[in-house]
Amino acid sequence: MINGNLKADYGADERVLNNRNKQLFVYGSMLLLALFPLFADDYAVLMACKMGILLIAVVGINVLTGYTGLVSLGHGAFVAIGAYSTVIFSNLFSGLPAGILPIIVVPLAILVSALVGIIVGLPSLRVKGLYLAVATLAASFIVKFLIEQDLFAPWTGGIVGIDTPVPNLLGWELDTKREMYVLITALAVGTMLAAQNLFRTRVGRAFIAIRDRDYSAEILGISLLRYKLMSFAISAGYCGLSGALGAYFFARILPEQFGLDLSLELVAALIVGGMGRTLGPLFGVVVVLLVPEMIKITMSGATGGSLEWARYTAPLQEIVFGLLLVFFLLKEPLGINQITDRILRSANRWPFARG
């Protein structure tokens, strides 16, 4: 028995938040997010900001991997392009008034990422699955390599990285983490709603059709060329936005931040959270960022912060990260979203049989 699903008209059926529970959950969590900086300490706000930035990128990779079925192991590169474009365009247009700079620069960064996404996506028309995973991986290595080159160092800062500007929204300078939290959270919620909305449209349905069987989709009249590239562009665009926010958030960006580790983190967050589900990225990001952080805190608590043990923290975090990914693939391939679904379903049917 599923409650709260009475639909009296078509409009009600087509809404994004189509039942009371969802509305309650979404509005409730929005309220919580809004109140969060009022009582949280600096450390919690910092973690929340990091999660928000990663979340936007994972929502992006969800569009590509979760909904269109194209595996990418190189999305860290798009985040890098978003971040570096933000810095480069900010330096290029430094003559403009600071207040409107981010409003021009961030869309440009998203655009550049999306364009690169289309280029990287080109092999997806001929290759699938594994070959595509390696192609994207190769592309991401190339992008990172180019960023590190001395040739482009005047713009990118080369291997030592480059300082990032402080965002200024129409005169409001976001120079504290708490102010950045407002911007990041607003954008993260916005992107999640946009992604959810995308899959009610013609384009989103085409993506899902391609995921389920690309040849069948083509026979149904879906242009693979168009929609696969569009999926790449959208997902790269999301990652570009994430990179832009990352550039504004961190005082300095380095090429190493956008290496293989980031790409794997994105995919791992998606798998842990649940692929092809709107809330999957949210759960995934929370777990993937919180668990290593908890290890760090426990380690420093258990050993009294001694330096001798501190060097074991990073490898341990890495191992646990890998184990998380493997555990979910072996035991719960549909991710945390599946677990919450199960709990919600049985709660909904209580006291009747679960199932």
């Binding site: 595996v71 192991l73 080109l122 092999p123 001929r126 290759v127 699955g129 594994l130 070959y131 995973a133 390696v134 192609a135 991986l137 190769a138 592309a139 290595f141 190339i142 390599f145 080159q149 069987r213 040849y215 069948s216 026979i219 293989l260 794997l264 995919v267 791992a268 798998i271 060097r311 074991y312 990073a314 490898p315 341990l316 975090q317 890495e318 191992i319 646990v320 990260f321 890998g322 184990l323 998380l324 990914l325 493997v326 693939l329 072996l330 391939p333």
Partner: protein, 334 residues
Amino acid sequence: MGQFIQFAINGLMSGAIYALIAVGIVSVYKATKVVNFAHGYLIMFGAYFYFTFAVIIPGQEWAPTWLASWKPDWMVEMREGLGMFSPLGAVLDWAANVPRIILGLVGAVLCNAVLGRVVERTLMRPLMGQSVFAMIMVTVGLISILSGSASLIWTADAAFVPHIAPNTPIRFELFGSMIFLFGADIVNMIIALLIFGGIVAMVKFTKSGVAIRATAEDQSTAYSMGISVPKIFSRAWVLASATGAVAGAILATRNGISPSLGLFGFSVLAIVLMGGLDSYVGCFIAAMSVGVLEAMTQWKLGGEWAEIVPYVAVLVVIIFRPHGLMGQKEVERI
């Protein structure tokens, strides 16, 4: 011209090592349809095992002295009176290391074989029959597990690792130009080619090789013909990690030991895809051509650019030939 030949030969030598690493990825793929993204990290473990058995254990106090440095009287006599750079001297220097090199290689191969078997049993076996995506992602998770474990286990600074063969410089003339090579590089190349050839011959001619090919063709049919598919799986993993150990030992002597050895696996993955995942011949051609291309890039553009040669090459090849140079086309039915 002289430099061209020199760089081409250097390229072929590193190409042979690429081929040796590629053979592990291809073997696992052929038997299990899983592309092992973590193969580079298995190689890194091989390198660290070699380091453990060839450097750390002989350096212990309880180890017999002949293990660390084997110097019988006749060798000391021969060594006396030889010049600094004489070829015989280099051979004798190497001979003193022979016990620990053998211990290192045997230990590395055995330990890595065990590691490969453990990975197969704990991570891959439960996923048998599941989607390929899940299996590949498990190997991606394995990357983090292996690289984390390596930095947890081997915290000591990596020191010098003994060369597998005497490292005498060799000079000779070819087409009127001087070529300059190191003995160890040549022996490494020969070892790599022998192992590569041995595995190809095994898959082609022996009974278990036929079983591997049958499993690659169709798992359930192979099962019903009495082939134990799980056994084939673990054999393929053991084979891949054992060859990986040799490759790791060679790489450790060439480039030194560091966690970045794992990244090497990705460029080999690119080479494997370039050659075609299920074709030994294609991979060999791809490995050799990437080796030569890298050497040429190093010569013309500088060492840094050589790093991305495999990736650029694989992208170019994939666009024109989606299944690699010699890979089999997948037939898809709706």
